[in-house]
């Protein structure tokens, strides 16, 4: 009796030790390359430091410098504009494509699914390079030729305020629309047919079914993609940097917040202001995702209530 109890206790302890052992690699790596750098960033944001000379405490000075820098606000403006133009249409087109791909009688389903998803497997660098040739400043570049066919003047895609933003938004759109389509498609397929059958028996129209069944049940998937897109859009770096090549850190038409941060840190050796920028960006990401999630979840619900 006593022996078996002892054995039982030690078994439990053994399990505990194993469990802690198995989860520990993540936490060791996390504290080293995740937590420690994040906390250190917080500390650096209050220091003046060029990476070599000793740090000096400057209080909130770094935040003041960043927030008073017109280039920071320009980069935030650029990020938001490209974010909206690159992701909002993506989500809408994604839902439409997923809806069509989910139609029961559709033929060539697999072909459409694979081709529409294909851009996602190309790396961001590859996409940016392909688009940098299509959207070259040259009068006869493919994009400008297409414009001329429709009677428009050529655009300086690499050096103009809207040209850069449109070209970058288009490449973001092109690469991600298939990804979102696939997620929405999974969402649509998770909705049981019984709902639609029951609704049809009750005499609900297709539109009513869309509003009362499809949209509410798709909401978690829409929330997910909105969250990912918001966070991703605010962290945009590779596309504009590679698209602009040499001019990436010298021109301001398409400089994003992360590019501004990168430039501060690794071109101007100003680690303090770069860290302050990282923290400001984190705050913006939290605020923007909260707002977007709130808006998205409300739209879905309101629609449901209104049409009831």
């Amino acid at each position: 009796m006593i022996v078996s109890k002892k054995r039982f206790v030690s078994e439990e302890k053994k399990d505990m030790i194993s469990a802690y052992l198995y989860v520990s690699p993540f936490f060791i790596i996390f504290s080293l390359v995740g937590l420690y750098p994040a906390v250190y960033s917080l500390y650096l944001a209050f220091q003046k430091w060029d990476g070599l000379a000793p740090m000096t405490f400057v209080g909130l000075d770094n935040f003041r410098v960043v927030l008073e820098d017109p280039l920071f606000w320009k980069s935030l403006y650029n990020t938001l504009i490209i974010g909206v133009m690159g992701t909002a249409p993506q989500l809408i087109v994604g839902i439409i494509l997923a809806f069509l791909l989910n139609l029961a009688y559709l033929k060539l389903k697999q072909f459409f699914r694979v081709t529409i998803f294909m851009p996602y497997i190309t790396s961001m660098v590859a996409v940016a390079l392909i688009f940098s040739v299509i959207f070259s400043n040259h009068e006869a570049s493919l994009a400008n030729y297409t414009l001329s066919v429709f009677g428009f003047d050529p655009v300086n895609w690499k050096t103009s305020e809207w040209g850069t933003k449109i070209a970058i938004s288009l490449m973001v759109f092109w690469r991600w629309v298939g990804y979102n389509t696939i997620i929405y498609l999974a969402g649509l397929q998770s909705i049981s047919n019984e709902y639609y059958e029951a609704a049809t028996i009750d005499g609900a129209s297709k539109m009513q079914q869309l509003l009362h069944i499809t949209l509410p049940l798709l909401r978690p998937f829409i929330l997910l993609t909105v969250f990912f897109s918001t966070v991703g859009a605010l962290q945009l770096f590779a596309e504009p940097t590679v698209f602009l090549g040499n001019n990436a850190f010298t021109r301001d038409e398409a400089m994003t917040v992360v590019m501004y941060l990168y430039r501060d840190a690794f071109r101007l050796q100003s680690f303090g202001t770069a860290s302050a920028t990282a923290i400001i960006l984190l705050i913006f990401i939290v605020i923007a995702s909260a707002i977007n999630l709130l808006l998205t979840s409300r739209i879905g619900k309101k629609r449901g209530v209104r049409s009831e």
Partner: protein, 287 residues
Amino acid sequence: MSETIMSKTVSRRKRKISASSIFIYAFLTLASLLSLFPFYWMFVMATRPSAAFSSVPPIVTPGGLLVENFQKVLEQIEFFKALGNTVIICTAVTLVVLLISSLAGFAFAKFKFPGKNLLFVGILLTMVIPPQLGLIPQYYLISQAGLLDTLSGVMILFFLNPLGIFLMRQYVSEAVPDELIEASKLDGCSNFRIYRSIVLPIILPAFATLGIIVFTAVWGEFLWQFTVLRDPEKYTIQVALASLNNTFKVDYGMLMSGVFWATVPLIIIFLCFNRLFIASITEGAVK
């Protein structure tokens, strides 16, 4: 009489369906063409001289410079070395992440231990930290450790993968029956032995899913690789490709050739395993 009415309504419905389905097929075909066109155009440019990109009207058929343009790429960057570096990094990171995630997933799914829920929520919360927040200290840490311009310096950051633990926990708790674990415990199996000979074989299919997610994410990542790698000898394929666009007079044929040859292996792998790829995305998202 009734028969003709019926056939009439049927044919009317058919006509209605075909009208809307023409629109649907047209829309989907357009979407597919727009998805494929940049790939095709990249191929065309990769086979043409640089001047071809600005000819009016545009050239839309492949030329004969496929090999010549690639030779120019090889003069500019260490293409195969960079590709090899990327493959080494991706393979190592994928294996390590699979090991870490499956062990932790096993622990979270099948063991009771104090602080379990707290730790798990903690792991999920780490997903919210944007990668740039710690960029500067991470860079400094790597440089202090003497790992700048090394492949391990690139890898270490990618070992951190909270999503992997999340997916593995889901999969282990669904696919591995508790009874099996209890029975092997009664037989005197150690916990690690249970992991190795019972859990691991059962969760192998989930390794394919998570493996694809990790491998492709690391393959395409740019910011960290761009920050850590400054020596062309150590470039990964992404950094090497980006460097092709950094000269004042860019040879577009050469540039597209580099992108083409770096993208083709991925496309082939994708076309062979496209169901697996697409499933990995939905599984990562739906869970």
